[in-house]
């Protein structure tokens, strides 16, 4: 408790000392507009956590502006296997992050801007924030047909989603963040957010797919910078504060003590995958081996991202029963992860009978299993 207050003082003090541009005067009240200098989704999410945990928002508001290099961000209680094409993400080096707020899955790239509105818990009000954004857009381009729906989306031309919302409420503070599509890659967006995994059953929060459009398509003169400036200006006007944007470096421990630990935590497998609510997979696939096609049925229960129960139904005697039960035993308790599965399967192969035919069957089966992950 004593530590918390000193941290709160720390940010206020360090803000005054370290702001590159001079001019930030008020220390405990008023509004603050900050922008991240980083495009790393984990670092930026960590900044949100830091402000939520350490900043005294009783008498002040903060607007945080950020953009990320390609990443898919899932909601707190979602299932990444259900929400996106993990294989494609790995191939294209698109990061996967799980945020702490609720809601659905979104795709971020540098053509998308993120806005986080921090307030005290009492002043949490999403509609107001979104109306502010719409007002800013209309001030910038009066001809834009944009409005806020009662599901807290912003629609363009009454039909296309250009912004999605999520929120996190804590004991004393809260934040509401939303995206805004300016010039994102719609092709990558739709392929990344299309899950190829079949037979999943889970109580995880599902996303509601929507048709999206970039503001850039409506008006090619628009850029992300223009949108950020317009929104900052509207925020400053509405909250009677300086339209002065303070730059924040999410790797700076002196301004944000403890931030690097938060960033690391957001990147751990236990957080990104391990926090997936319990789910089950019941599926069958065709396994091509030499010149035959075999039917394989797989049933698995996955809890905390690990295989709790595993059952593989193979054609009779295709693999000696000792070998298939060895595979099932090894998979049980293992991470539901293609890398882990490949590593364990190839390692186990060393102590299997050195029969080429047997080994190649084992390899084909394991490769097919990893396709489920």
């Amino acid at each position: 408790m004593v530590l918390q207050s000193s941290l709160k003082n720390c940010l206020q003090l360090s803000c005054v000392l370290r702001t590159p541009k001079a001019g930030f005067r008020s220390t405990t009240s008023g509004s603050l507009i900050i922008q991240s200098t980083s495009n790393d989704v984990y670092q930026n999410l960590a900044v949100e956590d830091w402000i939520h945990d350490h900043m005294n928002l009783e008498n002040r508001r903060v607007l945080f502006l950020w953009r990320n290099s390609p990443a898919v961000v899932i909601g707190r209680h979602q299932n990444p296997w259900q929400e996106c094409n993990l294989r494609l993400l790995r191939q294209k080096n698109i990061k996967l992050a799980r945020r702490r707020s609720g809601g659905g899955t979104v795709y971020h790239d540098l053509g998308n801007i993120n806005l986080t509105f921090f307030t005290s818990r009492k002043k949490y009000e999403r509609m107001e924030n979104l109306k502010l954004v719409v007002k800013a857009l209309k001030a910038l381009r009066p001809q834009l047909d944009v409005h806020v729906t009662d599901r807290y989306d912003i629609l363009l031309d009454r039909h296309y989603k250009i912004s999605g919302t999520a929120a996190k409420l804590g004991r004393t503070s809260a934040y509401h963040h939303c995206t805004l599509l300016c010039n994102a890659d719609k092709f990558v967006l739709s392929s990344a957010l299309k899950s190829p995994y079949k037979g999943l059953k889970s109580n995880a929060t599902p996303s509601v797919p929507a048709s999206v459009k970039n503001l850039f398509e409506e008006d090619p003169s628009l850029t992300c910078e223009m949108l950020l400036d317009a929104i900052a200006e509207e925020y400053a006007t509405q909250h009677q504060t300086d339209q002065h944007i303070t730059l924040i470096n999410p790797a700076d421990e002196t301004v944000l003590p403890g931030i690097n630990n938060k960033t690391k935590e957001l990147q751990t497998w236990e957080w990104v995958y391990g926090k997936t609510p319990k789910f089950s997979i019941s599926t069958c696939f065709n396994m091509v081996y030499k010149d035959s096609v075999l039917d394989v049925k797989v049933d698995m229960d996955v809890k905390h991202g690990r295989i709790e129960v595993c059952n593989i139904d193979l054609p009779e005697q295709w693999l000696p029963p000792a070998l298939s039960s060895e595979l099932v035993k090894s998979l049980t308790g293992s991470k539901f992860c293609p890398n882990e599965t490949t590593a364990l399967a190839t390692t186990l192969l060393r102590v299997c009978p050195q029969d080429e035919e047997l080994q190649s069957r084992w390899n084909v089966l394991c490769e097919n299993m990893t396709m489920l992950m």
């Binding site: 707020s101 609720g102 009492k122 929060t205 890398n339 590593a343």
Partner: protein
């Protein structure tokens, strides 16, 4: 308002508190004794129903998504109890009380209602609970100020942790002198009070410092209360460490390694070590690095080590063989699929370069680059990780000189390469020169490989590397 009084028949109930661990044993012992007296006099805890507070925006129901506690756990005020979700908002519900969780009113994914009980918490009767009201937000600073007792209209300030400590030691806060801000009672004050009462040796408060023996020329004005500075005699006080052991199951890849390594140790290993003078190779690599760079390949020493090993295996094929389980047959493998031990996030992974016997040094380098980038991305495939016939482990990149590598079944030999050190050596003229020395430690399966074979292979490998030009004669 529902408050249940629970009568407990049994004797001592130990209320766990994370604050208790911080005390030293003497204080703990004492509080145990105190507790014996206390429980008989004071009535036991009351169950309070902690209701789900208002979420805002007129929301009346939420879904429970995760419990952070289970029945029987003890919680402190402001600990997180659960995570609920409503319409894209994720809310962390924190406890209003210190106590023990007695009942969870909802299972995961059930709908919870605002204003209805969420959990039942058993708290101490002596604390007194104000009539149930929805916990809305409390201003961040005030949680430190809690009225405990009002004696003559004087409010005693103390944090919940301090109040618990006082309660467990049967101390009236009004009798303790507070040395904190606004006469706030701090933990040290309670401990000091206890010390005076019991004469127990308590650890010095964190603020006190061990004064190093300094010459008395300068008097440093420290805490105003200290006068004659004496060097404290180290008192053997019990060192308190509140860490706990953590047990987790061995699963997945690690479980597979347990199996493989157990099988490996059944192989009778013998070791053979030697020292290689890489001075010429270091120079050669420096010359070739830019050429490889132009072709987009990073050239390390490994491609040379790997190629030289393959040339050696051509002369001593028994080292590239495999013994069957019954030890009846030896299979001489035609391909030299040389494995390279790689340290990844998961642990030790051994991808291999296929058919080194028909690859050029450059091709090997290029293939190594591919395997290394896949390895660090965690995307190595089955084909890259199986089929190895011989392994080299470049542990020297991390450090070390000699090693005792373990053979990876079904192989029969392995080499561990230490780090390259600059050491003085004598040349033929008897002069001392600067040499780049690396140690190699081989292990081989003594059932089919004898020392002489290993030594000759090692000498051949060594000669190729000490005089790289000689590789040209035997390159295919």
């Amino acid at each position: 308002v529902c408050i249940h009084r629970v009568r407990s028949c049994s004797g001592i109930r130990f209320i766990k508190s994370k604050y208790v661990c911080v005390f030293d044993k003497s204080a703990l012992k004492f509080s145990h004794q105190q507790r014996l007296f206390r429980t008989s006099a004071v009535s036991c805890g009351q169950i309070v129903q902690f209701k789900l507070s208002d979420i805002g925006e007129g929301i009346t129901e939420v879904t429970v998504k995760e419990w952070y506690i289970k029945e029987g756990d003890s919680v402190s005020q402001f600990d997180s109890i659960c995570e609920v979700q409503s319409d894209k908002a994720s809310v962390t519900i924190t406890s209003r009380y210190d106590g023990i969780i007695r009942k969870l009113h909802y299972n995961l994914d059930e709908i919870a209602y605002v204003g209805k009980p969420l959990v039942d918490i058993e708290i101490d009767a002596s604390k007194g609970v104000s009539p149930e009201e929805d916990v809305v937000e409390t201003p961040p600073m005030s949680h430190e100020e809690h009225t405990h007792q009002e004696i003559k209209g004087h409010k005693t300030l103390a944090t919940p942790a301090v109040r618990r400590l006082a309660m467990e030691n049967n101390i009236k806060l009004s009798e303790v002198v507070g040395t904190g801000k606004d006469n706030r009672i701090l933990k040290e004050d309670i401990l000091n009070y206890l010390a005076k009462q019991t004469g127990a040796i308590l650890p010095p408060s964190p603020k006190a410092e061990i004064i190093p023996p300094l010459p008395k020329s300068e008097t440093v004005p420290a805490a105003p209360k200290d006068r004659a500075r004496k060097i404290p005699v180290p008192v053997s006080r019990p060192i308190v460490f509140s860490g706990k052991d953590k047990t987790e199951p061995v699963t997945g890849f690690h479980k597979a390694m347990v199996k493989t390594m157990s099988a490996a140790l059944k192989i009778p290993h013998f070791g053979y070590c030697d020292e290689i003078d890489l001075t010429q190779l270091v120079q050669l690599r420096e010359d070739l690095k830019p050429l490889a760079q132009v072709r987009g390949v990073k050239l390390s020493f490994m491609p040379f080590f790997i190629k030289a090993a393959s040339l050696g295996l051509l002369q001593y094929p028994i080292l590239n063989a495999s013994l069957d389980e019954s030890c009846q047959n030896v299979t001489y493998k035609a391909s030299h699929n040389i494995g390279v031990a790689m340290d990844t996030e998961q642990g030790l992974i051994v991808p291999n370069v296929k058919n080194v016997q028909v690859c050029s040094v450059f091709e090997i380098a290029s293939e190594l680059n591919r395997l290394q980038s896949l390895g660090s991305a965690g995307q190595l495939g089955t084909n890259d990780l199986t089929g190895g016939t011989f392994t080299l482990s470049n542990i020297g990149t991390i450090g070390g000189t000699y090693a005792k590598p373990v053979i990876l079944p079904p192989e029969v030999a392995i080499g561990a390469l230490g780090k390259i050190q600059v050491l003085p050596r004598f040349n033929e003229k008897g002069e001392v020169f600067k040499a780049q020395i690396m140690n190699v430690s081989w292990s081989a399966d003594h059932r089919i490989i004898d020392g002489a074979t290993m030594a000759r292979f090692s000498n051949l490998w060594k000669s190729y590397l000490e005089n790289p030009a000689s590789m040209l004669l035997d390159l295919k």
